[in-house]
C-alpha cells in the first residue's frame, strides 16, 4: 500500500515538472505583454509601428520603431542571402559527398560552431570584419552589410544541422531509382534528394530567420546602432534587439515602457516565425 502512494506521489511530481514549461511560457507572455501593451495602447499602435522618429529625449518624445523593424528585417534578409545557400550546400556535402572518416571530424565542428558564444562571434567581427568593410566600402565599417555577414555565419550551424538530418531522412530508394534512370550523383541530389527533403530544409531556414532576428550581443558590436531609417547597405542601422539593450540600462518610466513595447513587437515576430515553423514541421511529418 505504501509503495502505491509513493508511486502516485512521484507521478504527481513528474506532472508538476512537466507543467513548468507551460507556466514559464505563460509568465513570459504575461510579463512582456503587460509591460509593453499599455504603452502601445496609449501611444497609438500606428504611431509606434510606423513612426520614423525614435527620439526618447525630445520634448515631447517620439517613439517610432519603424527604423528598428526595418533594421531587423534588412539585417536578417542579408544574413539569409549569405547563410542559406552556403548552409544548405554544406549540409548536402555532409550528407552525400564526404566520407565517413571526414564526417566524424566535421560533424562535431558544426556542433562546435553552434556552441561558440555570440559575444565571441561579435568581437571577432568587430575587430576583423569591421576594419575590412571600412577599407573597402568606406564609412566606419559598422553597417547592415557587416551585420549580415556576421549573422550569415552565425546561422550556419542551425541551417546545416537540420537540413542535413532531413537530407539523410530521404529514403535510399529515391537515390537508387534516379541513378538507375541514368542520372548522375550530382543531378540526383539536386533534382531528387533536395526536393524530397524540402520541408525539413524549409524548417531549418525558418529556424535560421528566428535566430538572426533575435540575435543581440553580437549585432550590437557591429551594426552601428544609429536609431534612424536605414540609409543603405553600407550605413549603420539599429535592430529591435539592440534598441532594447542600448537604452534599457538608463531608461525610466515611459521610455522604459517603450523599450518593453519594442520587445513585444520582437516577441510577436518570433511567435509568428515559430508558428510557421511548427506548421511546416507538422506538415512535413505527415
Amino acid at each position: 500500500m505504501k509503495t502505491k502512494s509513493y508511486e502516485g506521489f512521484m507521478k504527481g511530481i513528474f506532472i508538476l515538472s512537466a507543467l513548468m514549461s507551460i507556466v514559464s511560457i505563460i509568465l513570459i507572455c504575461f510579463f512582456i505583454f503587460a509591460g509593453g501593451v499599455p504603452f502601445i495602447a496609449e501611444y497609438g499602435l500606428k504611431e509606434f509601428l510606423l513612426g520614423t522618429q525614435w527620439k526618447p529625449s525630445n520634448k515631447p518624445p517620439s517613439y517610432g520603431i519603424l527604423p528598428m523593424i526595418l533594421g531587423s528585417v534588412y539585417v536578417t534578409m542579408g544574413a539569409m542571402v549569405l547563410g542559406v545557400p552556403i548552409g544548405i550546400l554544406t549540409a548536402t556535402y555532409l550528407a552525400k559527398f564526404c566520407n565517413g572518416k571526414l564526417y566524424k571530424v566535421l560533424k562535431p565542428c558544426v556542433n562546435l560552431m553552434s556552441g561558440i558564444p555570440s559575444i565571441v562571434y561579435g568581437f571577432f567581427a568587430l575587430t576583423l570584419i569591421v576594419p575590412i568593410m571600412k577599407e573597402i566600402f568606406g564609412g566606419n565599417g559598422m553597417s547592415i552589410a557587416t551585420s549580415s555577414v556576421l549573422l550569415g555565419i552565425m546561422i550556419l550551424p542551425t541551417i546545416i544541422g537540420m537540413s542535413e538530418a532531413s537530407i539523410r531522412a530521404v529514403p535510399q530508394s529515391y537515390y537508387e531509382g534516379s541513378v538507375a534512370l541514368g542520372a548522375t550523383h550530382e543531378r540526383t541530389i539536386m533534382s531528387v534528394i533536395l526536393p524530397a527533403a524540402r520541408s525539413g530544409i524549409l524548417s531549418s531556414v525558418i529556424l535560421g530567420v528566428g535566430r538572426a532576428i533575435g540575435e543581440t550581443m553580437a549585432v550590437i558590436l557591429v551594426a552601428g546602432n544609429q536609431p534612424r531609417m536605414p540609409k543603405g547597405l553600407f550605413k549603420g542601422v539599429r535592430t529591435m534587439t539592440t534598441n532594447i539593450v542600448m537604452e534599457m540600462a538608463y531608461a525610466a518610466d515611459v521610455h522604459r515602457e517603450a523599450l518593453i513595447a519594442t520587445a513585444v513587437v520582437l516577441f510577436v515576430f518570433i511567435l509568428i516565425i515559430n508558428g510557421i515553423f511548427l506548421i511546416v514541421k507538422r506538415r512535413g511529418a505527415n
Binding site: 509513493y6 507521478k11 513528474f14 515538472s17 512537466a18 513548468m20 514549461s21 507551460i22 514559464s24 511560457i25 509568465l27 513570459i28 510579463f31 512582456i32 509591460g35 552556403i86 548552409g87 550546400l89 554544406t90 556535402y93 559527398f97 566535421l106 565542428c109 562546435l112 560552431m113 556552441g115 561558440i116 558564444p117 559575444i119 565571441v120 561579435g122 568581437f123 571577432f124 568587430l126 575587430t127 555565419i153 550556419l156 548522375t184 550523383h185 550530382e186 543531378r187 539536386m190 532576428i213 533575435g214 540575435e215 543581440t216 550581443m217 550590437i220 558590436l221 534587439t241 532594447i244 539593450v245 534599457m248 518593453i260 520587445a263 520582437l266 516577441f267 518570433i270 515559430n274 515553423f277
Partner: protein
C-alpha cells in the same frame, strides 16, 4: 553541370569549416600572448581587468542553474515518455510550450527576468534572478535530450522489469535511467555551454557587477559571467587585447564542453 554542382557543394563546405577554423585560430593567435597572470587576480580593478571573479561567478551560475533545471527537465521527460498516453492533450500543449521556449531570443528572456524576478519579486540584480532565467532557457534543451534518450531505450527492458514485479518508478530509476543516462548527460553538457555563452539574458538579471556574488539575492548578489565580462570589455573598447585573452578562455571552455559531449555521444552509439 554535374561538375559545377560538385564544386559549389565543396566550396560551401570549405567556406563553412574554413571560417570556423579561421575564427578559432584568429582568437587564439590574438589572445594567447596576452594571457598574463594579472588577468587571473583575485580582485578586479579597472587596470588589471581580471577575469577570475567572472570565471568563479560563471561556475556558480552554471551549478545553480543545473540544480534547478536538470530535475525539472528530466522529470518532464519521464512524464512525456513513460507516463503520458498517446494523443494526450496535455502532452501536445507541453510540446508546443517547449518548442516555443526554445525559439524565444535571449534578450526577451532577459527582459522577462528583469520584469518578473528582479522587479516584481524584488530579487534585484542577483544570482538567483540569473539562475532562474537561465534555468527556463535551458529547460527545452534538457527536456528534448531526455525524451530522445528515453525513446531510444528498448521497450523489452521495461517489460522485463515489470515482469519481474518491479513497479513503474523502480523500473524508471533502476532500469531505464541508467541506460538513458549518456544521452541525458550530453544534453546537460550542451546546456552548460549555453549558459556559459549567454549574455543578453543575464545582463538585466544577474547584472554586471565585477565582484563575485556573496549572496543569492538582494544586495551583493550581482555578478558577471565570463561572456558578460567579455562583452563589457569589448564594448568599452579600452582593453582590446585583454578582450581577446578573455575570448581565448571562453573558447577553450566551449571546446572542452563540446569535446566532452561528442565523446559521450560517440560512446553511446558505439555501445549499440
Amino acid at each position: 553541370m554535374s561538375r559545377t554542382i560538385r564544386y559549389a557543394v565543396k566550396l560551401s563546405a570549405f567556406l563553412t569549416f574554413g571560417i570556423l577554423l579561421f575564427i578559432i585560430g584568429y582568437i587564439l593567435f590574438r589572445g594567447l600572448p596576452y594571457l598574463t597572470q594579472s588577468l587571473f587576480s583575485m580582485k578586479y580593478t579597472s587596470e588589471n581587468v581580471s577575469m577570475l571573479p567572472s570565471i568563479i561567478t560563471t561556475v556558480m551560475l552554471v551549478f545553480l542553474t543545473l540544480l534547478v533545471a536538470t530535475p525539472i527537465g528530466i522529470f518532464t521527460g519521464f512524464y512525456l515518455i513513460e507516463y503520458a498516453k498517446k494523443g494526450n492533450k496535455l502532452v501536445e500543449l507541453i510540446r508546443i510550450a517547449t518548442e516555443t521556449l526554445s525559439g524565444i531570443p535571449s534578450i526577451v528572456y532577459g527582459l522577462f527576468g528583469m520584469l518578473f524576478f528582479v522587479i516584481r519579486l524584488g530579487f534585484q540584480y542577483s544570482l538567483l534572478a540569473g539562475t532562474l532565467t537561465a534555468g527556463i532557457m535551458i529547460l527545452p534543451l534538457i527536456i528534448r535530450s531526455t525524451e530522445e534518450a528515453l525513446l531510444s531505450v528498448d521497450d523489452s527492458l521495461r517489460e522485463a522489469s515489470f515482469g519481474l514485479g518491479a513497479g513503474k518508478l523502480r523500473t524508471i530509476f533502476r532500469v531505464v535511467l541508467p541506460v538513458a543516462m549518456p544521452g541525458i548527460l550530453s544534453g546537460i553538457i550542451l546546456s552548460i555551454g549555453r549558459v556559459v555563452g549567454e549574455t543578453a539574458a543575464l545582463m538585466f538579471t544577474l547584472g554586471t557587477s565585477t565582484k563575485v556574488p556573496n549572496a543569492l539575492l538582494h544586495s551583493g548578489a550581482s555578478g558577471r559571467t565570463l561572456a558578460l565580462h567579455m562583452y563589457m570589455l569589448s564594448s568599452e573598447g579600452m582593453h582590446v587585447n585583454e578582450s581577446y585573452a578573455t575570448g581565448v578562455i571562453l573558447l577553450i571552455i566551449v571546446l572542452l564542453i563540446n569535446g566532452l559531449s561528442t565523446f559521450i555521444s560517440n560512446k553511446l552509439t558505439k555501445g549499440r
